[in-house]
Amino acid sequence: MTDHKPFDVEQLRELFPILKRKVKGKDLVYFDNAATSQKPQSVVDAVSNYYSTYNANIHRGLHTLADEATAAYEESREAVKQFIGASTHEEIIFTKGTTEGINLVASSWGRANLNPGDEIIISTLEHHSNIVPWQMIAEERGASINVIPIDDNGVLDINAFKKLLNEKTKLVSIIHVSNALGVINPVEEIISLAHKQGALVMVDGAQSVVHLDIDVQKLDCDFMAFSGHKIYGPTGVGVLYGKKALLEAMPPYQGGGEMIKEVTFEKTTYNELPFKFEAGTPNIADVIALKTAIDFINAEGKPRMRAYEETLLTYATDKLKAIEGLKIIGDVPHKVSVISFIIDGVHPQDLAILLDNQGIAVRTGHHCAQPLMKRLGIVGTTRASFAPYNTIAEIDTLVSALHKALKMLK
């Protein structure tokens, strides 16, 4: 860890080649980090290096390349284990991303454990990927879904959650940090309350893992899913963490190679954890490069990057609030470096188009959280999400670009 080194954003930017590019003739201002983060050169090189020097299928080949690829793949699992504080590598399942992790639990755990009349609790803040998989399995198993309400700023109503919890509640699946608003949910409290009632808790960590320190054992969550591409890693790789005892008791999610111990036409026995849940040739290159992304985060220091993100967030919040008619949704103390806002009489899509023409990438729309937008009574928001490679000057560029866009639209 190099936490004591002063944070130098210019030095950090040097590691990200894409930040040098122009968009429509202007310097790129990338404020869509909550959708996907940019990648340091080391991550790009890790993918390229794998294919250039030791590409091989893993786990079964008895040759040097297979050995090297297997070792790198399993080193990545070890890195993830340490990164989130899991107790054993068997609790780390590689997936395509958060969505697959949630689907895996909904499908495998849900099919084995949900019965007619059982209840699942989610919240109004959920991303569609933490709604739809539960609806699918609930429908199949005759279970039902209850939803924790929020206030107008996107803060969960914990008292309402307490009332929703009952002996029929089998699982609570909750977004750790709202992708649409940046609000941090009190998952520790939710987990503790759910466990008292005998319910399991799955945490959607897609937006939290890059910002917050994660220790799954301390948190005591039963499952957590997150994506590599939001933590400076490649797309197409994600992680499902699950407590070993739960994963062991769960049936396989998909059948195929890698996940078997022995196959006959009469009966197949399954491989042990974590391979039981990794059917088929995995995304070897990107799994390996995920370790490089974790190495990058560890070298820079999450608390150090978070402190800088806080500076960006505070500065941007003040500047944006000064714009007439602009309202931040989710303007609460406990949030990550995401600002979601609406402007009186302005459609988010118009803003996005006019900002893009000024080289600025923000996200607009419903952020794959249509029920949340419906609850808030809006069609969508404009979301600027910051990473440690963003600068105060870029925020100034956003603010002046917004003024220009508003002038054009009015």
């Binding site: 429509k24 988010p348 899509q349 118009d350 188009i353 023409n357 729309g365």
Partner: protein
């Protein structure tokens, strides 16, 4: 105007209009202005039935058929998209179903807006064109 000029002739008028502007700002201000001038759509047509589901903004298109020609009216809740709706209506309204269905509609590229419309999927332009052609085809059948 629409009754006398062919679709490609109207497209050429728009291409000429937009060519007067050098910067993206001017082109967009013109498009926004066109959007603001679009005739109001009767609220009774601003319903789910006439709505084209885009990813981000809502677009409503209503068509009528008179003396062998299709007439469109429409609206959007986003002003730039409303400008696009307006352009499409200028180009397509008042033509026969066959003319509308067969129109290649490549003027959007020619007026130099498309390179600035990064969100081609979400701005619903393609969905809009598809719906207008479907409407025309339905009147013609």
């Amino acid at each position: 105007m629409a009754e006398t000029k062919s679709i490609s002739a109207i497209e050429q008028v728009l291409i000429d209009d937009f060519s007067l502007f050098d910067t993206w700002e001017e082109k967009y201000e013109y498009l926004i202005d066109i959007g603001k001038k679009l005739a109001l759509l009767d609220p009774s047509y601003k319903t789910e039935e006439y709505k084209i589901k885009g990813c981000q903004s809502s677009v409503w298109i209503h068509s009528t058929y008179k003396d062998g020609l299709v007439y469109f009216e429409g609206d959007s809740d986003a002003i730039i998209v409303k400008g696009l709706v307006s352009l499409m209506i200028m180009v397509l309204s008042g033509h026969t179903p066959k003319e509308i269905v067969d129109a290649p509609l490549d003027f959007i590229n020619a007026i130099g807006l498309s390179s600035h419309l990064a969100q081609t999927r979400s701005n619903g332009l393609r969905a809009m064109i598809k719906q207008m052609k479907l409407d025309a085809a339905a009147w013609g059948s």
